[in-house]
């Protein structure tokens, strides 16, 4: 098993599994078979089976995760291209973000509290809707477990990417701008990548939701948690 700990082999495996998972989704057309989700599940199974630790894997995975930051910077391009449109709609965008952010924080904390989660878990859950780097930062500042937050954030993102558009349709939210915005607000960059597949308008509004909810959550989370007597 020593050979499997080689970074290049682990990277090749990650690319290979993701490629296969994407083909699988293309063939079946099932949204549930989200390639990110499938790859994560297969990799975890494989690591458990071969006894390779997460630490070993993450040394290789770090080369992939590294590109997350530049990718978020790159969202500046669609943001610029839609700036005029966004400026014209500033108030609806800002108010819907504020509502989404507060509802997200209060509901996740409230429900976790009612169902008996520990204090650390509640804090780690609070920034669940925002992009990983912000979420981890917010969690750390409040005394949660940042890497648990990272894992939860990806899971929430996958949930939004897989079921988000379905939920919106069921609740008669049909406007493409509103749909994109909601997906980005609720499920950050993973949802945004799904929205980009649907079209650039969806994707741009999703990245807008990702930015604004990220900023608002960073600012409001400590405040909301204090009011709810968690901090």
């Amino acid at each position: 098993m020593e050979l499997l700990q080689n970074h290049i082999i682990l990277l090749a495996l990650t690319f290979g599994i993701f490629y296969a998972a994407r083909q699988l989704q293309k063939w079946t057309g099932w949204i549930v078979l989200n390639p990110i989700l499938v790859t994560i599940v297969v990799l975890i199974g494989l690591l458990k089976l071969t006894g390779i630790s997460y630490e070993t894997y993450s040394e290789a995975g770090g080369y992939i995760e590294f590109w997350l930051k530049p990718a978020i910077v790159a969202l500046g391009v669609p943001l610029y291209q839609h700036l005029g449109q966004i400026r014209r709609q500033f108030l609806p965008i800002f108010l819907s973000q504020l509502a989404g952010c507060i509802v997200g924080l209060v509901s996740v904390v409230g429900i976790a509290q009612l169902t008996g989660a520990s204090r650390e878990t509640i804090i780690s859950l609070a920034p669940k809707s925002v992009t990983t780097p912000i979420a981890m930062e917010v969690c750390q500042a409040m005394g949660g477990i940042p890497s648990l937050t990272a894992a939860i954030v990806v899971t929430v993102g996958l949930f939004g990417a897989v079921f988000g558009f379905k939920v919106l349709e069921v609740w008669h939210i049909k406007n493409p701008y509103s749909q994109g915005l909601s997906i980005g607000t609720a499920s950050h960059a993973v949802g945004t990548s799904r929205a980009m597949e649907k079209g650039e308008t969806y994707g741009t509004y999703a990245s807008l939701g990702l930015i604004l909810n990220g900023l608002l959550t960073a600012l409001l989370a400590p405040f909301v948690l204090r009011i709810m007597h968690i901090l």
Binding site: T14, Y57, I72, G104, I111, I134, S178, V190
Partner: protein
């Protein structure tokens, strides 16, 4: 290609610098994104100068989330012990965020 990399990483580096100088709790990547949009808006750089790289990064963004997602394996115990609170809270809250944001935006837009 080099120019594209320079612009993207340059914005990110400036973001890092801003965070380091001011200590604000906002990730450098978000600052870099806002900076890139601002530079494009001010016509300091042209879209064609970053288009190839930014398209590549954006269309593969989901893939970059695989390694942090694999970190889930470290918390299978915590998740098993608090399965109901974690799952119910995240699912219900995520659905609420989707609906509230969508409704508010759709309602105010018209």
């Amino acid at each position: 290609m080099i120019r594209q990399c320079f612009i993207i990483f340059g914005c990110l580096a400036l973001g890092e610098l801003v965070v380091w100088l001011t200590g604000i709790p906002i990730p450098s990547s978000i600052i870099g994104m806002l900076l890139l949009a601002a530079l494009l808006q001010m016509k300091a750089i042209k879209v064609e100068w970053v288009k190839g790289m930014s398209d590549f990064l954006i269309s593969n963004m989901g893939f970059f989330f695989v390694p942090p997602g694999v970190a889930l394996m470290l918390y299978l115990d915590v998740i098993k012990a608090e399965f109901v609170p974690i799952v119910v809270a995240t699912v219900v809250s995520t659905v609420l965020v989707l609906i509230v944001t969508g409704w508010t935006h759709q309602g105010l837009k018209d």
